[in-house]
Structures are given as structure tokens and as C-alpha cells.
């Protein structure tokens, strides 16, 4: 007579087998141990491509140069030369196809990122020419008077 003692074990083995069959169908074939070993390299290799194929949105000033070379060479002669076009003009993506027109950030807050004066003796921030946003023409857009492409105070647009 066969012993019945092992019956529960058969059930367990059945469940494990079922799990392995499901695993064969569900788990991508590229899932496994990769170069970094089991601790850090246990993953689906195909996912790397997902991250590599993310759309590049910021194309750098080099990309702008071909069509907008004039503006670029203009700003290159000012202290604002260090600022990338896209920091204010927005990511180019596939401009001029997509988007046809970039949404330019002309807000006061954009200028204040650097030009709101902070009294920090040990930081370069205090060395940038800055204003107190509460007192300096509060509520008015900076570009009403200042030209970001010609930031020199000698070339103010409106009334002094």
C-alpha cells in the first residue's frame, strides 16, 4: 500500500511546476543575470533600450546656430553668453517642425532666478548684479526695460 503521507507534497510540487510554466510564458526572454552579476544585474536587458530611446528635448545652442546665428553671435558678446538659448526659449525638440513656435519664458521670475539679490557673502550669487524684487518696479516684466540679449545697462529700452 502506498503511503498517503506524501500527498500534500505532490500538491506543493504541482503548484511550483505551475508557477514555472507561467514564468516561462510571462517573463521576457531577455530577463536574466547580466554583466553586473546577480545582486545588481538581475533584470530585463530589453529595458535598457526603453531608456535609450527617450526623446531628446534640449538640443543645445549649437542646434539653434544654423538658423538663428545672428541672435546667437549677438548674445555671445554679453555676460549672458553662458546661458543656453533653450533656458528661456524652451526645449527645441524638433523645432521648426515640432513645435513650430517655441513658448518663450519672458516672465519676471525667470530673470529673478539669478538677479534677485541674495546677501550670501560666500556664494557667487551675491556677485551677480541683482535687485530686490519687492522694491525694484514690482509687478512689471523685466523685458519692458531690459533686453535679455543685450543685458548691459547702457542699452535699456524704455525710460530710465
Amino acid at each position: 500500500m502506498r503511503s498517503h503521507i506524501w500527498r500534500p507534497l505532490y500538491v506543493v510540487i504541482g503548484i511550483i511546476f505551475l508557477a514555472l510554466v507561467i514564468r516561462g510564458f510571462v517573463v521576457p526572454k531577455s530577463f536574466g543575470i547580466h554583466e553586473k552579476g546577480y545582486i545588481y544585474g538581475w533584470y530585463n536587458k530589453a529595458d535598457e533600450n526603453f531608456w535609450k530611446e527617450v526623446k531628446v528635448k534640449y538640443r543645445s545652442s549649437e542646434y539653434c546656430k544654423d538658423c538663428h546665428g545672428n541672435n546667437l553671435s549677438l548674445i555671445k558678446q554679453t555676460p549672458h553668453a553662458v546661458i543656453q538659448c533653450e533656458n528661456c526659449h524652451g526645449p527645441a525638440i524638433d523645432h521648426p517642425e515640432n513645435p513650430a513656435k517655441l513658448a518663450i519664458d519672458k516672465s519676471r521670475e525667470q530673470c529673478l532666478r539669478c538677479h534677485s539679490y541674495l546677501p550670501y557673502p560666500t556664494s557667487n550669487r551675491s556677485k551677480i548684479k541683482g535687485i530686490d524684487p519687492e522694491r525694484h518696479n514690482s509687478g512689471v516684466e523685466c523685458i519692458m526695460c531690459h533686453n535679455p540679449h543685450k543685458p548691459s545697462l547702457n542699452s535699456l529700452r524704455g525710460l530710465k
Binding site: G24, E35, V56, K57, Y58, P91, R113
Partner: protein
């Protein structure tokens, strides 16, 4: 004509396919078994020069747009911290909305919607510290992921598999740097990946490109001619929280002891 490399590749694939019925055993295989022969010796490293940062937050804004993190979400892949040390010895620090709008006001966010005004005369020193994922050599977040949804690539970047992540939050808890969070749209673990889509195309990360002051640099630190690698090797750099043994690969110049 089959080259040796192809031969190895095909036989590996053959082994992998025949091993599918034995997937349970595969889990227990020693780690080095599948190690490929031709790992390109790239190791991405990052250098932050805190002395150059002015807290404009352009990097945060660029990062959020480049990596499709909604701007109104109160999480970010990278952020900038402000430290203000007062003459009475107190240290105040904040990072309002991860500094996506920069630091416009001199009052410090204290939580519970409160702000503390700081007078110019009280300040001993003040500085900004940009932060991002450290792409640790021993990433604790990868170690604790129960399903293998986060992993380290051969070039040292830690990525998250959005299709496999179960959203348990264990990796978020395991990161000593607070670099991880849940993506507000995809609801999976999310973090900085050094703009993997950009660096693998030879571009700089969005934050490096957007920084007007050169406070952020990225490079292949294994390359003897690389600027970042050179600075790390020859200058006095430090890393954040090295006591955890994570071996972070974001190096800092001009870090102060108050920075945590």
C-alpha cells in the same frame, strides 16, 4: 563563417533557451557565468562644483522637461539645496519645490507652510548644493528590489524598469540620499538616470547643459583624457554620506560639513 564571438553568443542563447524549463535553477547560477567578454569600459561619473552654483534652478527646470516629470509635482529627479549658516550657529536649509524656480527670496522654508526671514547681518556663510542620484557603485536600491525591476547597467547607471516595477517603495526607503520617488503619472519608482538617452548618444545631461556656470559636469571617469575623471583623480573631492558604503559616483568640490 562564424566568428568566435558569434559562436559564444549563439551557444549562450542556446543554453538560455534550453534552460527555460530549468528557470528555477537558473536563479541559483553563480553570477559571473553570463558575463560578456566585451564590456565597454565606460563609467559615468558626475562632478558638482558647489562653489559655482548660484541657485538659479535652471538645471531642475530642464531636467523636469527633458525627463517628463510634471512641473507641478512636488518631486524631482534633481534638486538644489540652500544652506544658510547664521552667526548664532544655527544652520538653516531648504529646497522649495526642489528649486525648480530657483531661489528668489531670502526667507527660508521651514515646513508647515512657514518661512523664516533671515537678515543680511546674521549670515555667516551661505551656499547652494545641487543634488541628484549618485549612481552608486553599490546601489542599495538595486539590492532591495524584490523583482529585479531596478538594475545597474554596465556603464554604472541605475535604471528602473517601468514595466516590471510593482511599486512597493522598498528602493525609495533604501536610498540614503532621497533620490527616489514615485512617478506622479506612471506610479513606478523614479529617479535620475544621468539622462541615459542623452549620454548614450554622446550628449551632456539636460542639467549639465542648462547650467550657465559650469557647476555640473558629466563624463566617463574611466577615460584618462576625460575632464571629470581628471578632476576626481587630481583634486580634493568628496562624496555624500560615504559611511553607507554605497560608493557614490557623484563627486563634489567645495562641500561643507553642514551638507547632508
Amino acid at each position: 563563417m562564424i566568428t568566435r564571438r558569434d559562436f559564444i553568443k549563439y551557444s549562450m542563447q542556446g543554453i538560455a533557451i534550453t534552460a527555460i524549463p530549468f528557470t528555477a535553477m537558473e536563479l541559483l547560477k553563480p553570477s559571473g557565468l553570463l558575463a560578456a567578454k566585451d564590456i565597454k569600459k565606460i563609467r559615468w561619473g558626475f562632478l558638482v562644483d558647489t562653489r559655482k552654483c548660484v541657485g538659479c534652478g535652471m538645471c531642475v527646470k530642464a531636467c523636469q522637461l527633458e525627463n517628463e516629470i510634471p512641473c507641478d509635482a512636488n518631486v524631482s529627479r534633481t534638486w538644489v539645496e540652500r544652506y544658510v549658516l547664521l552667526k548664532d550657529g544655527r544652520v538653516l536649509a531648504d529646497s522649495p519645490k526642489a528649486a525648480r524656480d530657483g531661489f528668489i527670496s531670502s526667507s527660508i522654508e521651514m515646513g508647515h507652510g512657514k518661512y523664516e526671514d533671515v537678515k543680511k547681518e546674521d549670515i555667516e556663510k551661505a551656499f547652494f548644493v545641487p543634488k541628484l542620484c549618485n549612481q552608486c557603485e553599490n546601489p542599495p536600491c538595486v539590492q532591495v528590489c524584490p523583482v529585479g525591476a531596478t538594475y545597474q547597467t554596465t556603464d554604472g547607471v541605475v535604471l528602473v524598469d517601468r514595466k516590471w516595477c510593482i511599486g512597493c517603495g522598498y528602493c525609495v526607503m533604501a536610498c540614503p540620499y532621497g533620490a527616489r520617488f514615485f512617478h506622479p503619472v506612471h506610479h513606478t519608482a523614479e529617479k535620475c538616470n544621468f539622462c541615459y538617452h542623452r549620454i548614450t548618444k554622446g550628449l551632456k545631461t539636460a542639467c549639465v547643459q542648462a547650467c550657465p556656470f559650469g557647476a555640473r559636469l558629466i563624463g566617463n571617469i574611466n577615460d584618462p583624457n576625460d575632464e571629470v575623471g581628471r578632476i576626481i583623480r587630481t583634486e580634493r573631492v568628496s562624496v555624500l554620506k560615504d559611511e553607507f558604503g554605497t560608493k557614490p559616483q557623484v563627486y563634489y568640490l567645495g562641500l561643507s560639513k553642514e551638507v547632508i
